[in-house]
């Protein structure tokens, strides 16, 4: 209801403003309480999730026990592995058996295979392996000049080695048609390295 106030209207407006103060405080407190409640609820949720995550990451006691038992068993087995499984070592060696049987035929009908040497040639710098090659040296008596010239290339193609070189020739006084050759076969060694010893198995 409109009224006629003989005092300035500001006086009553200020009075109304003062009366609103408790309501404002009540609203402020309500919002503060809501904010705090929301914060506590969020913290509770985060804590619950952290706890859930930790619980999920922690291993099961039976699983942990079984894993320890397995490690112990593997440790015990490793100590005897070399002596208990020679076939493994044998299979890890380069497969040159087929080459040795084929070599006399590759060298020619009248050739004589005198000596065969094969080895791994590994160049290391510290614990790093810079190069690893399979090296095969054979000494054989071959007959004829043609064989002398074309034999290395012929052998390279037939054996699949990377390179085949003649590193020594020797004329045989007792048999002038023949010559003793020392041939060196090289090929990259594609065998796995032993990680424990840093060497080629």
């Amino acid at each position: 209801m409109k009224t006629a106030d003989f005092l300035p209207p500001e006086a009553f407006a200020e009075h109304l403003d003062r009366r609103r103060t408790p309501k404002r405080l009540a609203w402020l407190c309500t919002w503060a309480l809501l904010g705090l409640s929301a914060t506590f609820a969020l913290e509770w949720e985060v804590q619950a999730q952290v706890s859930q995550a930790r619980q999920a990451q922690a291993p099961d006691a039976p699983v942990q026990q079984a894993r320890a038992e397995m490690d112990r068993v593997y440790g015990a087995m490793n100590a005897y592995a070399v002596s208990m499984d020679p076939l493994t070592d044998h299979l890890s060696l380069p497969q040159v058996g087929a080459l040795l049987t084929a070599l006399p035929q590759l060298l020619g009908q009248e050739a004589e295979l005198e000596d065969v040497l094969w080895k791994h040639e590994v160049v290391r710098r510290g614990r790093n392996v810079q190069s690893a090659q399979l090296l095969l040296r054979i000494t054989a008596e071959v007959r004829g000049e043609t064989a002398l010239i074309s034999l290395p290339e012929q052998l390279r193609v037939d054996t699949g080695f990377t390179s085949v070189k003649t590193i020594r020739t020797e004329v045989l006084p007792e048999n002038r048609d023949s010559v003793r050759l020392e041939l060196e076969f090289r090929a990259p060694l594609e065998l796995p390295l032993n990680s424990q010893q840093g060497s080629v198995r």
């Binding site: 209801m1 409109k2 006629a4 106030d5 005092l7 006086a11 009075h15 003062r18 408790p22």
Partner: protein, 342 residues
């Protein structure tokens, strides 16, 4: 348990016979009287005397520093209805100033406020009406100084009819029909009409509570003792009126008929300006309202439902017995206390 107890501003009504102080506690959901006191004091210097008595009565209440809303009534304030032709609209301020200056004579000067009374769409061809309220500066100063001497902060000073109408409006609630109120003060009566929550009409009446009191006193047998004869109270009059209703009604016939004629003239005027609107009821307040048989006499003369105001009972405000016994006298302080409440 309420976390925050709300208090209304301290309401002080400096009436022409008595000054009353009221403070409510609670809220719109449920008010109760927190502090109340009344002190009899008359004349232009009644404020200081009233304050002295009120302070004694309320020494145990913590009212210092509170906001106070004040109402005044009596000879130092006046209300006028000022009609204004559309052609004279440019002279509005001058007309109001001249009318206010004629209404009150105060050596310290006067202050006036005015309100347009039109409700709804204003017909520009029709004469406008303004309610002019004038108060002497000395009266305003005494009211505010009285509040300050009680260590209260005066934040409002109204003419008593407005807080009265506010309290009655709260009592009636939202109503489509207009309703009227008749404030029967000891030396001045006012008739007002409220429509759609706003004051639409207010006019001083010829008759007042004093003339009604004289009529009622004359109609009653002589009071038993000398003091009661010289200063009869409403309670003693009511006590003495038991069994004399017919005599009182007969005596009040002329008085109430004269008042009813005045009111009917006001209603015709109001009805003409508000598309034939009719009053739903008339509520009586002030000293004269509780005089024996006045309610019945006016009800009969007006042929409109007429009743004495009981705002505390109607609004369910918890109040002490002395307030409930004379609710019609506490309408103005109640209206002040409810100012600003939605």
């Amino acid at each position: 348990m309420k976390l925050i107890t709300r208090y209304s501003p301290v309401a002080i009504h400096f009436g022409s016979l008595e000054s009353r102080l009221l403070q409510l506690a609670g809220g719109p959901g449920g008010w109760k009287v927190h502090a109340h006191a009344s002190a009899g004091a008359q004349g232009s210097l009644r404020h200081a005397s009233a304050v002295e008595h009120l302070l004694q009565a309320l020494s145990h209440k913590k009212l210092r520093g509170k906001d106070a809303l004040i109402a005044t009534s009596g000879e130092a304030s006046a209300v006028n209805l000022v009609p204004m032709d559309p052609a004279q609209r440019s002279r509005l301020q001058q007309t109001l100033q001249e009318t206010a200056a004629r209404a009150i004579n105060d050596p310290e000067g006067i202050s006036y406020r005015y309100l347009p009374l039109a409700g709804g769409a204003v017909d520009h061809a029709q004469r406008e009406e303004f309610l002019l309220l004038t108060s002497g500066q000395s009266e305003n100063r005494r009211c505010t100084e009285a509040a300050e001497s009680m260590q209260l902060r005066a934040v409002g000073l109204e003419y008593s009819a407005f807080p009265t109408a506010r309290a009655l409006h709260a009592m009636h609630g939202p109503s489509e029909d207009p309703w009227g109120f008749l404030q029967l003060g000891m030396d001045r009566s006012l008739f007002g009409i409220v429509h759609e929550g706003e004051m639409r009409f207010l006019k001083p009446m010829q008759s007042n509570g004093q003339s009604l009191l004289q009529t009622v006193t004359a109609a009653l047998p002589e009071l038993p003792n000398e003091e009661a004869m010289q200063h009869p109270t409403v309670a003693t009059l009511q006590q003495n009126a038991v069994g004399h209703a017919v005599e009182i009604l007969h005596a009040l016939r002329l008085e109430s008929e004269g008042m009813a004629q005045e009111i009917r003239a006001c209603l015709r005027h109001f009805s003409a300006r508000h598309k034939g609107a009719r009053l739903a009821s008339v509520t009586l307040t002030g000293f004269g309202a509780a005089l024996p048989e006045v309610e019945n006499a006016l009800d009969h003369a007006l042929s409109i439902p007429t009743s004495v105001a009981r705002p505390f009972s109607e609004l369910g405000i918890q109040a002490p017995a002395e307030i409930l016994a004379e609710e019609h006298l506490w309408c103005t302080p109640l209206g002040l206390a409810l100012r600003g409440e939605s």
